[in-house]
Amino acid sequence: MANAKGPERTEQRQSTTFRQRLYKWFDVRLGVGSILHEALDEPIPGGARWAYVFGSVLLFLFISQTITGIVLALYYVPSATSAHTTVAYIVKEVTGGSFLRSLHAYGSSAVVIVLLLHLTQTYLYGAYKGRRELLWISGCILLALMLAMAFTGYLLPWDQKAYFATTVGTNMASDVPFVGPWLKRFMRGGDEMGTLTVSRFFVAHVFIIPAVLIGFIATHVYLFRKAGAAGPPSEDPTNPKLPTQRFYPRQVAMDTVVALVMILILGCLAHFAPTELGPKADPADTQYVPRPEWYYLPIFQWLKYWRGPYAIIGIIVIPAITAALLVFVPFIDRRLERRPWRRPIAVGVFVLILGGFVAMGLMSVRDDRRDPSIAKQVAKQHQEVEQFMREPFEPEGAATSLSAPVVVVVDPLVGAGRKVYESESCDACHGENGVGTAAGPKLAGATAQKSAEELSNLLRHPTAKMIEGEMKPVDVSDEDLKALVAYIKSLK
C-alpha cells in the first residue's frame, strides 16, 4: 500500500495544470472561489428565464451611465455662463462627444424603461411576497432616486428646453404644503433660476444622488440574495420547492445578451440620431413652451387638471396615496398567492395606474398637437434647435469681447488705459489684466494704498528695486499715463 501511494501522488501533481495552480495561488490569497461561488451559484427555483433579466440590465445601465457621466465631466463646467458653451463644445468639437452625450441621455431614458419593466415583472410575478418587504421598498427608493437623477441631469445642458422644463419642475415644488416655497428656493438656490441652480443640480446629480444610489443598489442586491430568487409565480415564495438552476451560466447568459442588445440599440440611436442641444437658455423668452422629458409627461398632464382650491388633492394627496400604495404593497397584499390571475384586485389596481400614466402621456401629446398656437410654437422651437445644431461652435467670450462697445469697461479712461497697458507691453511681464507672471509682480489689487500721483511718479521714475527687477520708466504722454494709472487702479 505504502509503495503504491507514492507514484499515485506524483501523477496527481503532474495532472494539475499551470492554470489550476495559478487559480489556486490567487484563491488562497483572495478567496476568489467563494466570491465566484457567491456571485454565480445563486440557485434559481424553476430555472433561468428571460423575465428575470431586468435587474441585471439595470445594473449594467447604471455602470454605463456612471462611465459616460464621468467622462462628460472632463469637459463640462457647471455654471450658468459656461454650462451651455461646454456642452456645445462637447457636442460640436470634442472627438466622439456627441456620441457619448447621446449615450448618456438615451441611457437615462433606457433606465426609466427598464425600471418600469423590472417593477412590472416583480409586481405581476408577486415577487415582493414572502419576507421581501424591505427588498421591495429599497427598489421603490431606487426608482425615486433614478427619477431624481433624470430630473437633475436634465437641467445641466442649460439650453432653452432644460431651463424652462426645470423652471416648471421646481415651481411644482412650491405647491407642497407648508414648506413648498422654501423647498423651491432651496432647490433653486434663490428665488430665480440661475447659476446657483446649476451648481446645486450638478452636485446633486454627480455627488449626492449617485452616492445614495450606490448604497441602495448594494442594499437591494444584498436583500435579494438574502431572500433568494422568487422563481415563477407558481412557486412558494418562502419555501421554494421547484428544482433549482444556478445563476451561472444560463441566467448570466440571458442577462448578458439583453445587456448587449440594449447597448447596441443605445449605440445605434446615439450614432444615427444623436441627442440635440438647443440654443442657450434665455430667461427673457416669454414665448417658450416648456415640455418635460417623455417620462414626466403623465405627471405634467395630470397637473393641468388641478387648479383652484382643490389643487392640493391632485397635486399632493392623490400622488402621495399612489406612492404609498406602491411602497407598502407588500404589507397590503399579504397572501402568499403569487399567480396574477388569482390576484385580480392587486393586478387590476396596478394595470389601472399604469394605464392612467400611459393615457395621461398620450393626452399630453394629443393636446399639444390639437392646439394650433402650441403646435406652431413647438415647431418653431424645434427649428431653432435644428438651426443651433447647424451653426459652428462659438467659443465663450467671443461675442462680448469682439464688439468693443460691449466690453465691460465703465470708465472710458480705464478703457484707454488698458490700451496703453497692452501697447506698452506691460502685460509681457505683469500679465494679462495685471495678474502677474514669473517675470513681473501682480498689479491687480496691489495699488489700493497708493494715490494716482504716487503711481504716476513710480511709473515715470521706478525705484531702484523696481529697476533691478527690469522695470523700465514708462515713456508715454501725460494723458496716456493718466489713463494707464486709472486702468491699473481699476484692476482688482
Binding site: 462611465i67 448587449l260 467659443p395 467671443a398 517675470a439 527690469e470
Partner: protein, 186 residues
C-alpha cells in the same frame, strides 16, 4: 481496485468534465462577447478623453492689421494695435497687442514684435535717430530690426504674416528671451 469501480469513476469523471466544459464554453463565449463589446465601447471613450491630444485645442489665430495698400508707401516702421484672438478649448481670449509694420521691400511686408529679445521690454521707434531703442538697457536695432548694439542676444523677432483678400494679417507670438535663437513660447 476492480475494473467496474474504475469504469464508474471514469464515467463519473467524464460526465462532470462534460458539464464543466459546457459551462466553461458558455463562459468563454460570454467573456469574449463582453470583451469585444467593451473594447468597441471604450474606443469612443478613450478618443473622447484624449481629444486635447488628438486635436489642437489652444491656438492663436490670425489677427487683421489693416488693408495692405495702407502700408505700400511706408517709409518708417508703423506701430499698430491688433486684436489677438487666442483659443483655449471652449474659451476665446481677446487682447490688444502692439506690432510694427516695416516699410515694404520688393513688395513684401515684414512685421516685427516690439518685445525686446533681451528682457521683454517694449521697444519704441525713435523717429529722430531712425532706430529702435529699448528704454530698459539701451539695446539698439536698425529699421529692419537687425541688432546694432546693446545687450540683446539677437535681432528683433519677426512675426508670421500673410495677405488675404487685400488684408494684412499676423499671427502674434511671444518668443523666449535671452537666447541667441528665435524660439516661440507655447
Amino acid at each position: 481496485m476492480s475494473a467496474v469501480q474504475r469504469s464508474i469513476e471514469r464515467g463519473g469523471n467524464s460526465a462532470a468534465q462534460k458539464s464543466l466544459s459546457r459551462r466553461s464554453f458558455l463562459g468563454v463565449l460570454l467573456g469574449f462577447g463582453t470583451v469585444v463589446m467593451g473594447a468597441a465601447l471604450s474606443v469612443p471613450l478613450i478618443r473622447f478623453a484624449l481629444h486635447p491630444l488628438l486635436t489642437k485645442t489652444t491656438e492663436i489665430g490670425w489677427s487683421d492689421i489693416g488693408k495692405i495698400d495702407e502700408f505700400a508707401s511706408l517709409t518708417t516702421p508703423a506701430k499698430r494695435l491688433i486684436k489677438v484672438e487666442q483659443r483655449d478649448a471652449w474659451r476665446k481670449i481677446i487682447s490688444e497687442k502692439a506690432i510694427y509694420v516695416l516699410p515694404p521691400k520688393n513688395g513684401t511686408v515684414r512685421i516685427l514684435s516690439p518685445i525686446c529679445p533681451h528682457l521683454g521690454c517694449s521697444i519704441p521707434w525713435n523717429e529722430t535717430k531712425q532706430e529702435f531703442i529699448c528704454p530698459c538697457h539701451v539695446a539698439v536695432f536698425a529699421m529692419d530690426g537687425a541688432k546694432i548694439s546693446g545687450p540683446a542676444p539677437r535681432s528683433m523677432d519677426d512675426l508670421e504674416s500673410k495677405v488675404e483678400d487685400g488684408t494684412l494679417k499676423v499671427r502674434y507670438q511671444y518668443f523666449r528671451q535671452l537666447i541667441p535663437t528665435k524660439e516661440p513660447l507655447s
